[in-house]
C-alpha cells in the first residue's frame, strides 16, 4: 500500500511536469522562451494575494464537476455531461437570484438558490440515470447529448426571459450585491463557495466509504450482477447516483454565478466538464485527492491566463496544458500498473528462491 501511494505521487508529479514541458515546447513555435514564460508565470502567480487566491477561486467549480464524474464512476457509470448539468445549475442560480433578490433577504435567497440548483442539476442528471435504469440506454451517450441540450436551453433563456434589461448582449443583469456569496478573504475574489466545494469533497468521501449507500454504489461498480444477487437494487442506484452527480455539477453553477460572475454570461467556462474528468482521473477518483488535483488545475488556469496577458501567447495555452497533463496522467496509469506487476514478480521470485 505504501509503495502504491508512492508510485501514485511520483508518477502523477512526473505526468504534470511532462505535460507542462510539452506545452512549454509548443511555445517555441511562437518564438517564446518557455523557461522565461514559466518563470514569469510562477512569480506572478505568487506575486500578490489576489492572484494567488484566484487559484482557489478557479478550483472551486472544478471540484464540483470532478466529483460529478468521480461519483458515478464509482458505480461504473459514465457521466460526461457535467458541463450541461453545470449550465442548468447556472441558469437556475441566475434566474432564482434575480427573481428573489428584491423580495427576500440575501442570505435566504442564497440558501433557496443553492437548494434549487441542487434539485435542478440533480433532476437533469437523474434523467440520465432514469433512462439507463428504465430503458437500458447508454448513459455515456445520453449524458453527452444532454450537454448540448442544456447549452441550447441556456442560450435560449439568455436571449429571452433572462436577457439583460438593456437587451444588448446575451447575458443577464448583474445580481444585487446582497445575493453575492460572501468573500472569505477581503481584497480577493475567494468566496465561501470554495469552502462549500471542499466540504462537498469530504462529504462525498464519507458518503462513498462510510455509508451503506456508498458501499452499495461501489458494489454495483465492482460487479453489478453480483450486487443485484445480494439484493441491491441497481436500477434505483443508477437514478440516485446520477441525481447526486448532477446536483454536484449543478452546484458549480451556483458558486460561479453567485460567487464569481455575479451574472450569467453566454458561453462561460466551456471546459469545466472536460477538465473535471481530467481532475477526477488525476486524483484516481478519490474525493480527497480531487481537492488537490483541482487546485493544480486552478493554478494552470490562472497561470495560463497570466501567460495569455503576456505578449503574444494565446490563452489557448490553458487548454493545451490541461490536455497534455491529462494525456500524461493517463500514461502514468500504465506506468503504475507496470511498476506494480514488476513488484509482484520480484516478490514471487523471492518466494521461489527461498
Amino acid at each position: 500500500m505504501q509503495a502504491k501511494l508512492r508510485d501514485l505521487l511520483i508518477t502523477n508529479i512526473l505526468a504534470i511536469v511532462l505535460g507542462l514541458v510539452a506545452s512549454g515546447l509548443m511555445l517555441l513555435f511562437l518564438g517564446k522562451n518557455p523557461v522565461n514564460a514559466y518563470s514569469v508565470l510562477i512569480t506572478s502567480v505568487v506575486r500578490d494575494g489576489y492572484t494567488f487566491a484566484d487559484i482557489f477561486v478557479k478550483a472551486t467549480p472544478l471540484m464540483f464537476t470532478a466529483l460529478a464524474f468521480a461519483f458515478t464512476y464509482k458505480a461504473n457509470l459514465y457521466n460526461i455531461g457535467a458541463q450541461g448539468q453545470f449550465y442548468i445549475g447556472a441558469v437556475i442560480a441566475a434566474a432564482g437570484s434575480l427573481l428573489l433578490q428584491n423580495i427576500l433577504p440575501g442570505w435566504l435567497v442564497l440558501i433557496i438558490t443553492l437548494l434549487l440548483t441542487i434539485v435542478g442539476g440533480g433532476l437533469w442528471g437523474a434523467f440520465i440515470g432514469f433512462v439507463k435504469a428504465k430503458y437500458n440506454s447508454n448513459e455515456f451517450l445520453v449524458s453527452m447529448m444532454s450537454t448540448y441540450v442544456a447549452l441550447a436551453i441556456m442560450n435560449y433563456s439568455l436571449r429571452t426571459f433572462l436577457m439583460e434589461t438593456k437587451a444588448e448582449y446575451p447575458q443577464t443583469d448583474a445580481l444585487a450585491a446582497s445575493v453575492w456569496l460572501p468573500r472569505i478573504i477581503p481584497g480577493t475574489r475567494l468566496h465561501i463557495g470554495f469552502v462549500l466545494a471542499v466540504l462537498a469533497c469530504v462529504g462525498v468521501w464519507v458518503l462513498l466509504y462510510k455509508t451503506t449507500l456508498g458501499y452499495r454504489i461501489r458494489a454495483v461498480g465492482y460487479n453489478a450482477g453480483a450486487a443485484e444477487m445480494s439484493g441491491i437494487n441497481a436500477k434505483k442506484l443508477y437514478i440516485l447516483a446520477f441525481f447526486i452527480s448532477g446536483a454536484l455539477a449543478g452546484m458549480a453553477g451556483f458558486t460561479e454565478v453567485n460567487g464569481v460572475q455575479h451574472m450569467l454570461v453566454q458561453g462561460f467556462n466551456p471546459d469545466l466538464g472536460a477538465a473535471g474528468i481530467g481532475i477526477a482521473i488525476l486524483a484516481n477518483g478519490n474525493p480527497i485527492g480531487i481537492i488537490f488535483a483541482a487546485v493544480l488545475f486552478g493554478a494552470l488556469k490562472v497561470g495560463g491566463t497570466i501567460m495569455g496577458q503576456m505578449s503574444g501567447i494565446p490563452s489557448s495555452i490553458i487548454e493545451l496544458m490541461q490536455g497534455f497533463v491529462m494525456v500524461f496522467v493517463i500514461l502514468s496509469y500504465f506506468v503504475r500498473t507496470w511498476l506494480e506487476n514488476n513488484r509482484e514478480k520480484r516478490k514471487l521470485r523471492k518466494a521461489v528462491a527461498k
Partner: protein, 304 residues
C-alpha cells in the same frame, strides 16, 4: 423541400464518414471516443493545408494525416497500453481543442478579416442531374458526397462478405478465436482505429473546407459525437448508419433552414439547433434491442 433534401444529403456526408469509421472500429471492439477530436483536427488541418497550398486536395490529404495521428495516439494508449477508452478519448479531445487553437494562432496570428477558402464545388453528374427532383437532390453534390454514399454499400459488403470483415467482426466478438487463428488482435484493432482516424479527418475537413470555407474552434460542435451516436443507433451496421445519417442530416438541414429564415415566434432557433441531440436521446431510449459487439470497450489482454 428539394433544397431541404439536397442539404440533408450534403450535411449527411461527414456524419456518414464518421459513422462508418466508427462502425468498422467498434466492430473490432474499439469505441473511438476521440472522434470529436479527430473531426476537429481534420477540420483544422484541412483548412491549413487547403489555405496554404491553395488546393483542396492537399487540404484533404492533410486532414487525413491529422486524423491518422490523433487516432494513432488514441489507439496506442487504448490498445497497446490498455487504458480506458472513454477517459482517454475525453483527454485527447481536450488536447486537440488546445492544439488546434494554439497552432492556428502560431500559423496565422490574429487575422483582421476571417480567413476563407473556396469550398468544394458541386459536380452535377451529366444526364442524371437532369432527372426532375431526384437529380437535384442526389446528383448535384460534391465529390465527397458521391464517394461516401458509394463507400457505404462497399463497407457493408466488406464487413459481411469478406474474410477481412469476418476478422474485424470477430475481433470484437471473440478475440480469443482470432488469436488462435494466428491473427494479431491488437493489430486488427489498431488498423481499424487508424482507418477511423483517416475517415474522421476527412469528415472534419468537410466542415471547414468542404462546405463553410473557414475554420473556427467550435466548428465541429458535437458532430463527432453525433456520428458516434449514429453508429450506436444504427446497430453497428452500415445500413443502419446510412438511415441514421439521413435522419440526422435532415435535422441539420432543418436547423440551417430555420436559422436562415430568422426567428419564428412559435419555435425558438435553439430548439432546432438542439434537435439532433434531442433526437439522439429519444432514439437511444426508444431502441429496444441492440446487438452490441460483445467486447466493445474491453481491452484484449493475452494470458502468458
Amino acid at each position: 423541400m428539394i433544397y431541404l433534401l439536397s442539404v440533408t444529403i450534403m450535411m449527411g456526408t461527414p456524419l456518414l464518414f464518421g459513422a462508418l469509421a466508427e462502425v468498422i472500429a467498434e466492430r473490432t471492439g474499439m469505441m473511438v471516443t476521440a472522434i470529436e477530436g479527430i473531426f476537429l483536427m481534420g477540420a483544422w488541418a484541412g483548412f491549413v493545408g487547403g489555405y496554404l497550398s491553395g488546393s483542396l486536395t492537399v487540404g484533404f490529404l492533410a486532414a487525413m494525416l491529422a486524423g491518422l495521428l490523433v487516432a494513432g495516439l488514441y489507439g496506442w494508449i487504448c490498445i497497446y497500453l490498455n487504458q480506458h477508452q472513454v477517459v482517454t478519448g475525453v483527454a485527447i479531445n481536450l488536447l486537440v481543442v488546445g492544439l488546434c487553437s494554439f497552432l492556428h494562432r502560431v500559423i496565422f496570428g490574429v487575422p483582421i478579416t476571417p480567413l476563407t477558402v473556396n469550398p468544394l464545388a458541386t459536380i452535377p453528374i451529366p444526364l442524371l442531374s437532369k432527372i426532375p427532383l431526384l437529380g437535384e437532390i442526389l446528383f448535384n453534390q460534391n465529390i465527397l458526397t458521391y464517394i461516401i454514399y458509394l463507400l457505404a454499400p462497399f463497407s457493408y459488403f466488406m464487413l459481411y462478405r469478406t474474410s477481412i470483415g469476418l476478422t474485424i467482426r470477430s475481433a470484437g466478438e471473440n478475440p480469443e478465436a482470432v488469436d488462435v487463428a494466428g491473427i494479431n488482435v491488437l493489430k486488427v484493432r489498431f488498423l481499424a482505429v487508424l482507418l477511423a482516424g483517416v475517415m474522421g479527418g476527412v469528415a472534419g475537413a468537410f466542415y471547414s473546407i468542404g462546405f463553410l470555407g473557414m475554420f473556427t474552434t467550435n466548428i465541429i460542435g458535437g458532430r463527432g459525437w453525433i456520428a458516434f451516436a449514429i453508429c450506436f443507433l444504427g446497430n453497428w451496421n452500415p445500413k443502419g448508419a446510412v438511415i441514421g445519417t439521413l435522419a440526422f442530416g435532415f435535422a441539420e438541414a432543418i436547423a440551417i433552414y430555420m436559422q436562415s429564415i430568422g426567428n419564428s415566434a412559435l419555435f425558438p432557433n435553439e430548439l432546432f439547433i438542439a434537435l439532433p441531440y434531442i433526437m439522439t436521446i429519444v432514439l437511444t431510449i426508444s431502441r429496444k434491442s441492440f446487438s452490441v459487439p460483445a467486447k466493445l470497450g474491453v481491452p484484449y489482454l493475452k494470458e502468458n
